[in-house]
């Protein structure tokens, strides 16, 4: 079998040689670009050309520090790697100037340094000691932000395709499956089904033709870890899929990527072409006799296609509607053939398990939820971004250590885990370990890993209404409870938010939520009521406040607000009177003004306009 060893050594040399050259790396994932990363790239490029400097420019995937985007890294020969955050085009040039001309870092912009074996610079925090990275363990995201995702050489240099080589040369199909079972890896898509057992089922069903599918639909709003993996380290997913193909005896794979990720699709397509060019994918991989071809199937805008059977129908060119199970995909999946479906992150874990062994993986995490999980920290948190943490870490650590606590020191109220299929967890449960089973007991679920932090200014009824609006629009319409039930729940919640909720609404809402949860055909319908049930369970008082006192404690539900002018603070400058669309404000110049609650449409334009902050929403 043709081995990659020599090629790997050569690529490593090339990669290390490049360390004694000046290198500037800028994060150009979707979030990097959205934060203005391209402008920084152009400015630096222009500066390097004008000055005629011998500098290697490199674009990388994202390190996970969205709060600090755009990110620029400077590698000087013989020095540690300096990571700069919130870089603007002008400051980037200034930083480079200082580095190249005077060899000094600019502490005011620095996020951290990575010594890489060299002598660390004084009084600059090391990356791994910063709050964001301290309790993280980067196995799946290890290469993201380090390598150039469009260079297969970088991937191979960092141990890429070593696992595939090991599997094809030394391991039998059963051994691979046993290794995955021993590692305790569970599905990262949300269900948490043991991956080893799933592969074994597909392996056991007969049939010359089998398929491997990677579910990269990631429809959860607020979740983007799959995108970062696909954009930052696409080859790890391809390798994981190839290993699975070998294990279950499939020769064809599909990556179902949602249409809203064009950059991920572009990088995946390049990765597949590069791998096929090097004989690592396609026919007779590395002369081992095993062939495996991967195709990309683009989604077309349907959250329900994250569900296994709906996804397969979508690849088959049909409406993405789930079907009855059994038969499970392992027996009869894509075009009726045995199929194994796993999430992006699950496949990305596989090469690590094979290379470093099941025990290395099993050491991380709790006794029934092994390994690490990538979470997308968003919402009212100081440090938003991607964090890969060992399973079993407590919520408090994630929110306050990694996340850096709540923005402008507001009080923590709850965290939503699992997106629209998950539930919210109040402050009282901050110390529960994050693992599959304990989250389910709290009425939430691991889900794909979206973690939205909310502070005291968030209204939980509005959050439940927001999630219901999402699942109602994404319901496929096949089964009655989900098609009708989600809309009826949404209508009740909207009535409550508009102050027209009646006393019986809470019971109807809870009863309907339980019926939809227990009778819906697929995961979407079964988990759509979770946000409602969780908010009812922990924040029932807020519902009652909205219904009986017609008040919104967090001041979010607009129809329930009374906008009042504080006579003491009002200087009578009439600015608010001019801007008010419903001319609900009366009063002469220099005299305190007042708002007529009947006319006021609560658009809050006056609050924004008032220079003296005299108008508040009570």
């Amino acid at each position: 079998m043709h081995s990659l060893k020599e090629m790997r050594r050569e690529f490593q040399r090339a990669f290390n040689v490049s360390t004694n050259r000046v290198k500037v790396a800028i994060g150009l994932g979707t979030c990097g670009i959205a934060a203005g990363g391209e402008k920084v790239w152009n400015a630096v490029n222009e500066y390097v050309e004008n000055e005629g400097l011998d500098v290697d420019m490199m674009s990388t995937g994202c390190l996970g520090m969205c709060y600090a985007e755009p990110i620029m890294e400077v590698h000087m020969p013989g020095e540690p790697r300096f990571v700069y955050g919130n870089v603007k085009p002008e400051t980037a040039v200034e930083i480079l100037e200082r580095h190249l001309k005077y060899g000094r870092p600019s502490p005011e912009y620095i996020v951290g340094q990575d010594p890489r074996g060299f002598e660390p610079a004084p009084n600059i925090m090391e990356l791994k000691d910063t709050g964001f990275f301290k309790s993280q363990v980067k196995t799946v995201l290890g290469r993201c932000g380090i390598i150039d995702p469009e260079q297969i050489a970088h991937y191979i240099a960092f141990g890429g395709y070593e696992a595939l080589e090991k599997v094809l040369s030394e391991m039998s199909q059963i051994e691979v499956i046993e290794e995955i079972k021993r590692s305790g890896l569970r599905g990262r898509g949300g269900g948490g089904f043991p991956t080893g057992r799933k592969w074994e089922a597909a392996y056991n069903s007969p049939g010359p033709k089998k398929y491997v599918i990677c579910n990269a639909d990631e429809g959860d709003p607020g979740a983007f870890m799959d995108r970062s993996i696909l954009e930052g380290d696409p080859h790890s997913v391809l390798e994981g899929m190839a290993i699975c193909g070998y294990a279950i005896g499939a020769d064809e794979g599909y990556i179902y990527v949602r249409a809203e990720y064009p950059l991920a699709i572009k990088r995946l397509r390049k990765a597949i072409q590069d791998a096929e060019a090097m004989g690592i994918l396609g026919d007779n991989i590395l002369d081992s006799g095993f062939s495996f071809r991967i195709r990309i199937a683009a989604g077309a805008g349907a959250f329900v296609c994250g569900e296994e059977t709906a996804l397969m129908h979508s690849i088959e060119g049909k409406r993405g509607m789930p079907r009855v199970r059994p038969p499970y995909p392992a027996q009869s999946g894509l075009w009726g053939k045995p199929t194994n479906i796993n999430n992006v992150e699950t496949y990305a874990n596989v090469p690590g398990i094979i290379r470093k062994g099941a025990d290395w993986f099993a050491a991380m995490g709790t006794d029934n939820s092994k390994g690490s999980k990538v979470f997308a920290l968003t919402g009212k948190i100081r440090r938003t971004g991607l964090a890969e943490v060992p399973i079993g870490i407590s919520l408090r650590d994630v929110v306050f250590d990694i996340g850096g606590g709540i923005q402008n020191d507001r009080k923590f109220k709850a965290v939503q885990i699992g997106g629209p299929s998950g539930g919210c967890i109040p402050a009282s449960h901050l110390d529960t370990p994050i693992d599959y089973d304990s989250l389910i007991q709290l009425g939430a679920m691991m889900g794909s890993g979206g973690l939205v932090v909310m502070d005291e200014d968030t209204c939980m009824v509005d959050v439940a209404r927001y999630f219901l609006k999402f699942t109602q629009e994404e319901s496929c319409g096949k089964c009655t409870p989900c098609r009708e039930g989600t809309m009826r729940m949404l209508q009740i919640l909207e009535r409550i938010c508009q102050g027209q909720g009646g006393p019986e609404d809470i019971d109807t809402l809870e009863n309907l939520a339980l019926v939809v949860k227990s009778t819906s055909l697929c995961g979407l319908g079964q988990s759509a009521p979770n946000p409602v049930l969780a908010t009812l369970r922990y924040f029932r008082s807020e519902y009652e406040e909205h219904i009986f006192n017609k008040k919104c404690p967090a001041g979010i539900c607009v129809e329930l607000l009374d906008i009042i002018i504080d006579p003491a603070a009002c200087k009578g400058c009439t600015l608010c009177k001019n801007v008010c669309p419903a001319d609900a404000i009366t009063g002469e110049r220099k005299k305190p003004h007042s708002i007529d609650p009947e006319k006021c449409i609560k658009c809050q334009a006056c609050i924004m306009k008032c220079p003296f902050g005299a108008i508040t929403k009570g």
């Binding site: 349907a302 409406r319 009855v324 059994p326 109602q472 629009e473 994404e474 319901s475 496929c476 319409g477 096949k478 089964c479 009655t480 409870p481 098609r483 009708e484 039930g485 989600t486 809309m487 009826r488 209508q491 019986e504 109807t508 009863n511 309907l512 019926v515 949860k517 227990s518 009778t519 819906s520 055909l521 079964q526």
Partner: protein
């Protein structure tokens, strides 16, 4: 198959592996309600009405789709299960028009039955009906999208059983709808109006176009002479509407009843069925001699004819040029029969009572005016006639009986067979085999009988083998047509009926749930055939008289003008 024992509401029962909870419960005498379940269709598990509690499982399991496993403990009527079913019913009813009192399915609607069974007395959810216009675009079928409960049964029958693909789903979630293809009206879609979707629909979302008012207008007009023809499959199914077994109603009772309703003259389509055998038999022999346009297809089923015109315009020359018995009868009633009875054809209203909705379309085809007037003015289905009997307070099963009008009232056992799939073939073979002399000892051709999708037989005509085939449901017809299109068809003569089981399962018949009901009706047809004295089409004396007095000879120019037609391509959104 290993046997599995489960406990349903405490009753122990043993069933083979792979049985669903629904079937196991039925076996144990436990009733579980269903809505989207249909015995002859794939399990869809859309409506979730049939959910039950299974020990050790936190959500409720759909009985139709969950297979039993060893030692399963099932409870089908706990408080949680009943609350779930009632909530789901409330959800459906909140979007369903509340006009049960003047809905055509009042009393036979499955949703109405469930609402009564589960005591849905109030609805917690505000009304939110669709308020869409009704679709009257086809002469045979009317669609009321506001009543659709999205069980997908009509789509399944139109796509899997009939392969016409006229109906499909549109939009997603709360706005999901069943629409004709590309959401144009039904007439633009490839719909052949076979009416199988009416049988599949649990509610009144799809019904036959109602022509009772037109009929009453004609009957009450003293100027008009209302003449009707009755199809063979109508009589035997009508008794089901009045609580009788298929076939209990005698034809004389039906004739008596129709006269009491106000028809001036009652005759039989069967007369024209025998006539069709004469014409089509000769056409077959002609084609066999010349070896031209073989295999020949029957053309008495208008749904099948329209299917061929839409999907196989290149093979229309294979269809027999004979009209269907209904149209032959229509052409003759305003010419030969008017002359014989001395009635001014202008005054005649030609009505036909059919088990079929597609006949309503055939009657308005532009080519069907060879009697210089509309051959058939209106077509009523078995269901409409049953409604008419109820309206006029007549219970046909209690009537003494009456005889049909002269000249076109006689018919043989062969004509009766037309109602069942394979009947036309058997009738044709009985005549064709005897045309070249000699009499057949065995006249029952059993290989073309029964519910099998495609039936085959080989017969010897003047020493040469003639291979024949019979197909019912258009999915089977498509199999045979693909063979013909590829030029590999081994057959010489093929009978096609669009509806499963033939006309006894037609779109206008009393609502038929399962193939078992259709098989029972087939048996009633074979019994009637066996009971008749004359059982071969060429023994029909009135047909002989027709040829002598009026048409001259078989396939004569006059016969060709009145009893034959042509077919043309139909451009549709296939």
């Amino acid at each position: 198959m290993t046997a599995i024992t489960v406990s349903i509401n405490g009753i122990k029962t043993t069933v083979p592996e792979g049985t669903s909870i629904l079937q196991a419960a039925a076996g144990a005498g436990v009733h579980i309600p269903t809505l989207c379940f249909h015995p002859d269709q794939e399990v869809k598990a859309n409506c979730r009405i049939c959910v039950v509690e299974v020990e050790g499982r936190n959500n409720l399991a759909p009985a139709c789709a969950t297979a039993v496993s060893e030692g399963m403990v099932i409870k089908t009527a706990t408080r949680r299960v009943l609350a779930a079913r009632r909530t789901i019913l409330e959800l459906i009813l909140a979007r369903h028009p509340q006009d049960c009192l003047h809905c055509s399915r009042n009393g036979t609607c499955e949703l109405q039955q469930l609402a009564a069974e589960y005591d849905v007395r109030y609805n917690r959810f505000p009304r939110d009906e669709w308020q869409l216009p009704l679709d009257y675009s086809t002469p045979g079928i009317v669609r009321d999208p506001n009543k659709c409960v999205l069980c997908h049964r009509c789509i399944e029958v139109c796509t899997a059983v009939q392969t016409v693909n006229a109906l499909g789903l549109a939009n997603r979630g709360y706005d999901t709808q069943v629409v004709p293809s590309i959401d144009h009206d039904l007439f633009e879609s490839p719909c052949v109006m076979c009416g199988q979707c009416i049988h599949a629909c649990p509610v009144a979302a799809i019904t036959e176009r109602d022509q009772i008012d037109e009929l009453m207008e004609a009957i009450s007009d003293p100027e008009k002479v209302v003449v009707t023809q009755i199809a063979p499959a109508v009589r035997l199914a009508l008794s089901e509407e009045f609580g009788g077994e298929p076939g209990r109603l005698r034809m004389e009772q039906l004739v008596d009843g129709l006269q009491k309703i106000g028809f001036d003259y009652v005759l039989h389509t069967n007369f024209a069925a025998d006539l069709t055998i004469w014409e089509e038999g000769h056409e077959l022999l002609e084609r066999l001699q010349e070896g031209r346009n073989l295999p020949m297809f029957t053309s008495c089923c208008p749904g099948w004819v329209r299917f061929a015109e839409v999907y196989y315009p290149g093979l229309l020359n294979h269809l027999s040029t004979c009209k269907s018995p209904q149209q032959m009868f229509g052409a003759l009633v305003k010419t030969y029969w008017a002359e014989k009875m001395g009635i001014d054809p202008e005054k005649i209203v030609s009505v036909s009572i059919m088990p079929c909705t597609a006949k309503k379309y055939e009657a308005v085809r532009p080519e069907m005016i060879d009697s210089r007037y509309a051959d058939v003015d209106m077509v009523l289905t078995t269901r409409e006639i049953a409604r008419l009997f109820r309206m006029t307070g007549i219970d046909p099963l209690k009537l003494a009986g009456a005889f049909p009008a002269p000249w076109m009232g006689e018919y043989t056992g062969a004509a009766v067979l037309f109602g069942a799939s394979g009947g036309v073939m058997e009738a044709a073979l009985r005549t064709v085999c005897e045309l070249q002399g000699g009499t057949l000892e065995k006249i029952d051709f059993c290989d073309v009988r029964g519910m099998k999708g495609v039936k085959e037989a080989t017969v010897y005509l003047n020493g040469k083998p003639v291979r024949v085939a019979v197909a019912h449901s258009l999915s089977n017809a498509r199999v045979l047509m693909e063979q013909v299109a590829a030029g590999e068809s081994p057959y010489h003569f093929i009978e096609v009926m669009a509806c499963p089981g033939g006309c006894i399962g037609g779109g206008g018949q009393p609502l038929t749930r399962t193939d078992r009901d259709r098989a029972r009706r087939m048996q009633a047809i074979y019994d009637e055939d066996r009971g008749r004295q004359r059982r071969k089409a060429h023994e029909n004396q009135e047909v002989k008289a027709l040829y002598q007095d009026y048409l001259g000879s078989v396939m004569s120019h006059k016969a060709h003008e009145l009893l034959h037609t042509r077919y043309t391509l139909k451009r549709k959104n296939t």
